[in-house]
Subunit: 768 residues, 2 copies
């Protein structure tokens, strides 16, 4: 049959086009290929997938490459049974599946793997394209190896013992990305069966002849942007998995200007070693260890660039590595280098890949006698965490602190990601504040008057009798009396402090935007030297409107689980390190948190439990707790940890605390049966840490709030703006605070909070 | 043929299973269905997609529903031609395409659209599932309407004039998500042709009988998590577009506990109105306007919940709305409510949808005489921005400030997203610092001594002669002399300040992790009242190692473009608002920034340009600039804005500034031809704002850095830790700082920096 068939194809859409062209040649069909700039409008076909096969001017006959191939086979005498699997239903099914596989699985991977050839995809996927390219190439090789190569171990063709469209469909997907790889190393590669088959198919299928057509593979212009975007998305879904982050945000292309001048160690180690071997790369970093061998003619450098926990082994030799002598004289541990060389399979299989250096450029030397971290070669085990704190400007060069830094980074991102997906807006609440929501004694003051005090031998400006009169005239409510420090001379003209919580401020935005959160530094001037307190720490504080305490707890539980899981998934190697060096069983503890519903009970129930004889006393009959757990006490760490570590063996949420031990803004319950006032507070307690989250429903009833402010001897005028939120369109709302640094302790197993923040501040210490 | 066929299917995977079951019934094939908990290992088929059809114990015969259907048809006498399109190649091709379409396009959408039925997908896609569900349902309806319904306008079946597998494949995808919708309103819906066809197909195809099998639609257990994840990803790719954010991060499922008790206005307005009409919803928010009509028997409420710029019109009537009287008495603008009602098409088509309220629950009233924002009904045009600043706790309830808040939130997320995709780690640099990198005069002190000073009539502890001796003995380098303020009595035992920049600190982490950034509050005690300065503001400061000034500029340009584009795409409605109320032509200005390569030139070249006669003087011959642009001056805002607004009409990057006007840590160039010393600094200037970014390559050469520290009269001992980074394994590195609040001004067109941060702090003002 030689009717006038026309194939409409997008420029650059070559695997699909090639497939149909090859099918036309095989079936002896005369077919012309026309390149379209845009996909045609939908015809009688459900989809408008190109290539589309038309017959004469009859309109569209078959969209999509597989449909078109089948149509050609069926329309040509005998080609149907020859190329589509014969008369046997089972064999036809096999061909069907391979064709489907080529289009569904291989095409998207192949298309993105071809990015480097400079296709319009680059425009869609942007600079992240390189990453996708690498991943897709790897994914494609893995896929082909596991499925196609395996099938071909004992067979010459994919289906039966002759060429079918199964072979054509699969081979055409591989021409672009793998041809050179397959042909270059036919035997060596793990694709050896594919290689053999591939050469045969290219000839038999006339595909080689089709390639002479005026296409260069995947080099089309922007016309297929839409199709390409879809392919990139599919490939990304394949190569990694799609994060929920994809939902609800519009894609923004990455710019193309910034290119690293070197490969990152993480990217090298994550590349399939078979793909990586033979590549020339440039790598930069710091030497974690330098080992000499061969009587000084060889040097092995463990090079770390902080991109991941693992280091890359670099092999240098006097014979082959330019500047070898400079490397030897660079001082070893801590020295910095750029290496250019070839990735090779290692002699001993500790890692999958190592670098054989052709050139070393010493960027920075060290004097091992001076370098604080030199002695034990950066193995933090060799330096106490206390010692490392004194070297806070260098300690990120140790494995321990670098792992913490990466996990901390992941936690912070997870937080923003979680709230974005939940539709919350991030609000920057102020750091310097004039309001003092929890008692001034614990706050740090911010001032510009100390400079003057230094010149004036420690004297601050004070209010004279004359000034006191003037101030009183200006403002009858002035708090400035004779002899007081004269804050009108200070930067803000009144006392100002560092915030202890963004909550009151963030509530103002919640009462306009419904769902918000703040994430920023907070400060306490408590003079305490514990492993769980800092003077400067970071807090996450969401606030949600039209919500109850239950909503608040639900959100907090989802939140903790999400962030924990994000770390488990994205920092696996760092968690491995902590497992080994910090807390055995860490991963199981975290998985338990993710998998177990948090136990919820009221404070009153918790007190009842603690007062059971078996809990109140230890086995030898002595009191278990230093403080007796009587109703009304503020539970101590001993009670909290006992509840979650011993009684419930997992996270516990306590609710409805006595009003007397909680803040003024918490929503009041009805009096309980015994006439006691509780508030709708909740604390989440976790093993090892104790309290991780504290939250509450907020008192939205103006009268009750105002009464409570005066009952607690707070000054109503300080909170008038806060009461305005209830005065004007009040709404039920709730929120919580999570100590971010404690959360990092929680997911890393690090015992002291001073080691999870880059530069810890506590009484007497403010270094760097 | 009645051999013993077995279908292996995942529980809950019902569209696919149903399709094959229906095919078996139609072809008269005896087939048993077995539910598997896991997908089987790969057999002879390339994919292991379930359902899989097996024949006896022969092994796998066909994976995937389409292959299985075809196999059944081909294996049964006559069914091939009956259900697969007859003998005609073109008709077969049509059936092929519809089957492909059902699997590729409809199945993924349908599966996610069924989430509400409580499938395991919810576990995968999590709570964001609701959003995806809504989007997918809409996408599915749109798709079916555009393709299937259209096809059926003039036809009773999808292919030819009898039932084929095309109908079965498509109908089975729709049973779950659309059955009730289609059956409920057969005529009214835009799916009227589909409705008619659907009823026929269900009967003819025996699908109804198959549904009696022990499946409940899409209600399977976790077994198909993997398959479901893929479907969710595909559907998400369909419903929205995939952000680059998907790359490089592992997916984390969202928890299922937290559910909003109400629909968000944004979600309602974004739902296709045809889909939304008739739904019963609960909505909460604040009244932006309340309009009375019908002699008081009607009330129209513009309800805003902050989730988007637009409000939802709610129609209440004395007759139909419970608690109507309470609404009328609630005070109007600013009052808060929960409405329950039905979404209806509006009488006048200002919006696509409005709510007819059955019930109103007044949550919070206002007294219009007291409410500061009442008069002009929240239209910020009616309240000056100056007035609104005094009401900072309420101003987010205006359109203007709410739009700013949403854009600020988007900018912040874009920043984290950009750096994550580029492989940078987020580092929390300290807020309180003992180091003073740019001159103490501008810093605010942090202290706990002021409390004592108040009791002591303004006296701070000072160093006595005795103490001075003791301190000198303890530490010969002590700076405390007799008469000085005795900082050993302060919280940190020495003077402490609020940071002016995280740069020096973040460099310590860069010199360990290679690529890092900090994003946090910074402080200046400058006594300036300009529209571009705050005492407390947020800064983004990336630092990249093994990088040059060019790399730094490339990164900054990509960064600015990425964040700008993120806002354009994700805050389109807010940008519309600013276009209308703040800056005409805003969108074009931003698009210009995104599309135009930034002009790059040296400071020296810029000076030469400014000194050209046409620039130096205005048309009337007078001097254009207040300060003459001589080489060596620190360019003023007048020069910077002239360069980017008049000369280059877009962003400009100036490089290589005179060393004398730049900081000590910037990398020194060789002396220029005229013997002048410049440093590798760069500033990015943008129209309207002037300097947006300042950065530099850092001096990594220890000797040169130390010399410059002493040359500039800084104390070497203050910077010894900073010099350590060069002493031990120094590396070339660079970085920049971007004033976050200025960036928000830049993308919103807001003229005063005090209006882009929730609670602005400047000299004399620290309210709330």
């Amino acid at each position: 049959m030689t009717a006038a068939w026309v194939l409409h194809a997008l420029p650059g859409d070559n695997a699909r086009t090639l497939r149909v062209q090859s099918a036309a040649k095989l079936t002896g069909t005369e077919m012309e290929t026309k390149l379209l700039k845009n996909a045609p409008k939908k015809g009688t076909s459900p989809t408008n997938k190109l290539p589309a096969l038309w017959k004469g001017s009859d309109g569209c006959a078959a969209f999509s490459s597989v449909s078109a191939m089948k149509l050609l086979a069926r329309a040509a005498d005998g080609a149907d049974s020859k190329f589509l699997g014969g008369a046997d239903a089972a064999t036809k099914a096999e061909v069907d599946q391979w064709m489907e596989y080529a289009v569904d699985v291989l095409d998207p991977l192949a298309e993105v793997a071809c990015l480097k050839a400079g296709t319009s995809l680059a425009k869609v996927a942007g600079d992240a394209a390189d990453e996708v390219t690498a991943r897709s190439t790897k994914a494609l090789v893995d896929e082909v190896c596991a499925v196609v190569d395996k099938k071909l171990r004992k067979a010459s063709y994919l289906v039966g013992d002759a060429l079918t469209f199964a072979d054509v469909a699969v081979a055409s997907a591989l021409v672009g990305p793998l041809r050179s790889a397959i042909e270059a190393k036919p035997r060596q590669s793990k694709l050896s069966n594919v290689s053999r088959w591939f050469e045969t198919i290219l000839k038999e299928s006339s595909m080689d002849a089709c390639l002479e057509s005026p296409f260069s593979f995947y080099a089309g212009k922007a016309a297929q942007a839409a199709a390409a975007g879809e392919a990139a998305a599919k490939a990304a879904a394949k190569a990694t998995s799609i994060t929920g982050a994809a939902m609800g945000a519009e894609q923004v292309p990455m710019g193309k200007l910034f290119k690293r001048s070197h490969s990152r160690v993480k990217d090298i180690l994550e590349t399939d070693s078979k793909t990586a071997v033979g590549k020339t790369v440039s790598v930069c970093g710091w030497a974690r260890t330098v080992r000499s061998a061969g009587k000084g003619s060889l040097a092995f450098v463990e090079l770390n660039d902080g991109s991941c926990q693992a280091s890359l082994q670099v092999v240098c030799s006097a014979q082959d590595t330019t500047n070898f002598d400079q490397l030897v004289g660079a001082g070893g541990v801590g020295s910095s280098h750029r290496f250019v060389g070839t990735l090779v399979a290692p002699q001993r299989a500790e890692q999958a890949i190592e670098l054989k250096a052709d050139i070393v450029e010493v960027l920075g030397t060290v004097d091992p006698k001076e370098y604080p971290l030199s002695k034990t070669g950066n193995k933090s085990a060799g330096h106490s965490v206390e010692f490392l704190r004194e070297q806070a400007h260098l300690r990120a060069r140790t494995n321990l602190i670098a792992c913490v830094a990466r996990v901390r980074n992941a936690c912070a991102f997870a937080i923003h990601d979680f709230f974005r997906l939940q539709g919350f807006q991030y609000v920057h609440t102020p750091i310097i504040t004039a309001s003092d929501c929890e008692g001034a004694g614990e706050m740090m003051a911010v001032t510009t008057m100390l400079g003057k005090a230094e010149e004036n031998k420690g004297k601050l400006p004070t209010v004279t009798a004359e000034l006191a009169k003037k101030y009183a005239l200006d403002d009858p409510n002035t708090k400035l009396k004779e002899g007081d420090v004269d804050y009108t001379k200070d930067f803000f003209s009144k006392p100002a402090f560092l915030t202890v919580s963004g909550q009151l401020n963030v509530e103002t935005y919640a009462c306009a935007l419904s769902d918000v959160y703040t994430f920023g530094p907070t400060f306490r001037a408590e003079n305490s030297h514990t492993s769980r307190h800092l003077a400067e720490f970071w807090m996450v504080e969401p606030e949600l409107c039209f919500a109850s305490l239950k909503d608040d707890i639900d959100l907090a539980e989802d939140f903790i689980k999400y962030c924990t899981q994000y770390v488990l998934k994205n920092c696996a190697a760092d968690i491995d390190y902590f497992e080994k060096h910090t807390e055995e069983g860490l991963r199981d503890r975290l998985l338990n948190v993710v998998d177990t519903p948090f136990k919820r009970l009221s404070y009153t129930e918790a007190i009842e439990i603690l007062n059971k004889p078996e809990h109140l006393k230890t086995e030898d009959g002595s009191a278990r707790f230093e403080e007796h757990p009587a109703w009304g006490i503020d539970l101590g760490s001993e009670h909290e940890r006992y509840l979650c570590e011993k009684v419930f063996k997992g996270p516990v949420v306590l609710t409805d605390y006595p009003a007397d031990i909680k803040a003024f803004y918490m929503r009041q319950n009805e009096l309980d049966k015994e006439g006691r006032l509780t508030v709708q507070a909740m604390d989440i307690l976790v093993p090892r840490i104790g309290e991780l989250v504290g939250g509450s429903a907020r008192e939205e009833r103006l009268g009750l709030l105002e009464k409570r402010i005066t009952d607690m001897n707070l000054k109503p005028e300080d909170f008038s703006w806060y009461c305005d939120l209830r005065r004007f369109g009040t709404v039920p709302h709730a929120g919580f605070g999570l100590g971010f640094d404690r959360f990092v302790m929680f997911v890393t197993g690090i015992a002291n909070i001073r080691d999870v923040i880059p530069f810890p501040r506590y009484p007497g210490v403010c270094a760097f």
